[in-house]
């Protein structure tokens, strides 16, 4: 057993867990943050993607003790109260989900992708960057559309902010 301390969605949390506990199980079972999903046993589907210290990682392939001391953001940490995050809004607007199982991982991957491409994204890049996220419903088309739309709104928003600041 080890004591794990994390900052999750801005809140400091801790708990004693078996060393073999995966981060995703700590989030779901100890913290009741069940938005992060488990879709495979082989680290391939991406349903479990969260941000650890600002980077997208597969929470099914990291031990909770390994993450101890880190800052974690899950799907529950994106919206600002009742206001959806621009990526969440874009998925809704563009019908980027059907059953919704892959969606939390898709959205966490998408926000990370947009952060790393502040000047915008093109379709080929979005499709290549979705390599590690599997969706069994949508055929990806509307997911790609949603990410492109969100990337546009977010780069506009940051440009107008920058203009105001200048």
């Amino acid at each position: 057993m080890s004591e794990v301390t994390l900052v999750v969605n801005g809140r400091k949390v801790s708990g004693a867990v078996e060393d073999r506990t995966l981060l995703v199980h700590f989030l779901r079972e100890n913290l009741n943050l069940t938005g992060t999903h488990v879709g495979c046993d082989t680290s391939q589907c991406g349903a479990c993607v969260v941000h650890v210290d600002g980077k997208a990682v597969k929470s099914c392939t990291m031990l909770a003790v390994q993450a101890s001391g880190s800052t974690v953001t899950t799907i529950e940490g994106l919206a600002n109260g009742a206001d959806l995050h621009p990526v969440q809004a874009a998925f809704k607007e563009n019908h980027g989900l059907q059953c919704g199982f892959c969606t939390p991982g898709m959205i966490m991957t998408a926000t990370d992708m947009i952060r790393r491409h502040p000047d915008g994204l093109d379709e080929a890049t979005v499709r290549a960057e979705l390599e590690g996220n599997i969706c069994r419903c949508t055929g990806y088309h509307n997911i790609v559309k949603a990410i492109l739309a969100a990337s546009k709104t977010m780069s506009k928003a940051s440009k107008s902010k920058a203009n105001k600041a200048a």
Binding site: S2, E18, D19, R20, L22, D41, T42, S43, Q44, G46, V49, K55, A56, V57, K58, C60, T61, M62, L63, V65, Q66, T109, D112, M113, E129, E131, G132, N133
Partner: protein, 265 residues
């Protein structure tokens, strides 16, 4: 996953001390070891986490000499501007490994220590004539890779860095398995002051290897056209549900052509 005891190492010396407990294994990015533990293909009693040892992380480029710390992630290799200038083939290779989340965690040291026959980095190490630096010694890549998932590493030996001189020309081309994205065949070619080297991953029955046929043809002329009509024997190549040895033998030549074209671009 079976139960396991986790230890966080603070330095290389500390890791060497901690690895002595039970049937322990080093843990770097965990992108190979944790999936293997989840499916119970691996069941170490203890894990010694190398991820928080500052001295193992980072990339140094001075002139043509490149040194990459063992726990440097695939993401950091792919995006290092200085490295991109002296050896774009290697940053390109790193950008092709797995997916963004895997690249954020997986490390170069973990990849070469694991020596998966379909992993990308071993081909680069062999073709670049890299030196693998451990806490005990320095080993030429030619002496380091020993076969399927086998290396010259001892149980308590840690890869601390890899180092090489950037060659005048280098290129990598990979035919990814459509499902796993590991290399079904990948070829890394270099032309440096010691001549031409061509290393093949994903195809060899015994893991990564240098192709005599490709090297001989490219030594005459370092161009894709020099590989026209060259054939690589399918003996000792892997055959599985994805591709026969003959298919892979053909892929070696096709990937070598693409790698040379990339190196000359």
């Amino acid at each position: 996953m079976y139960s396991v005891n986790y230890h966080r190492a603070t330095s290389v010396a500390d890791a060497v001390k901690k690895i002595k407990s039970g049937d322990a294994k080093f843990l770097a990015g965990g992108m190979t070891l944790i999936p293997a533990m989840k499916t119970r293909l691996a069941a170490p009693s203890d894990l010694v986490d190398l991820g928080h040892i500052a001295e193992l992380k980072g990339i140094k480029v001075s002139g043509k000499t490149v040194t990459i710390g063992a726990t440097t992630t695939h993401f950091d290799v792919a995006n290092d501007e200085k490295l991109k200038k002296v050896c774009p083939a290697l940053t390109h290779l790193a950008s092709l490994i797995g997916d963004p989340a895997v690249r954020h965690r997986g490390t170069i040291g973990g990849s070469i220590a694991n020596n998966d026959p379909a992993a990308d980095y071993p081909s680069a190490m062999l073709a670049l004539g890299a030196t693998i630096v451990t806490n005990k010694r320095e080993l030429a890549a030619d002496k380091f890779f020993k076969g399927l998932f086998e290396t010259a590493l001892k149980d308590d030996e840690i890869v601390t860095a890899v180092t090489f001189t950037a060659p005048a020309k280098a290129g990598y081309a990979k035919f990814p398995n459509p499902a796993s994205r590991y290399a079904m065949t990948g070829v890394f070619v270099t032309k440096g002051k010691d001549g031409v080297r061509a290393a093949v991953t994903g195809a060899g029955d015994d893991g990564v290897f240098r192709s005599k046929e490709i090297e001989a043809a490219l030594t005459k002329k370092f161009e894709a056209s020099a590989l026209e009509g060259v054939s690589v024997p399918s003996k000792n190549l892997m055959g599985d549900i994805h591709a026969s040895p003959e298919y892979r033998a053909n892929l070696v030549v096709v990937m070598a052509k693409r790698a040379v074209a990339a190196a000359n671009a």
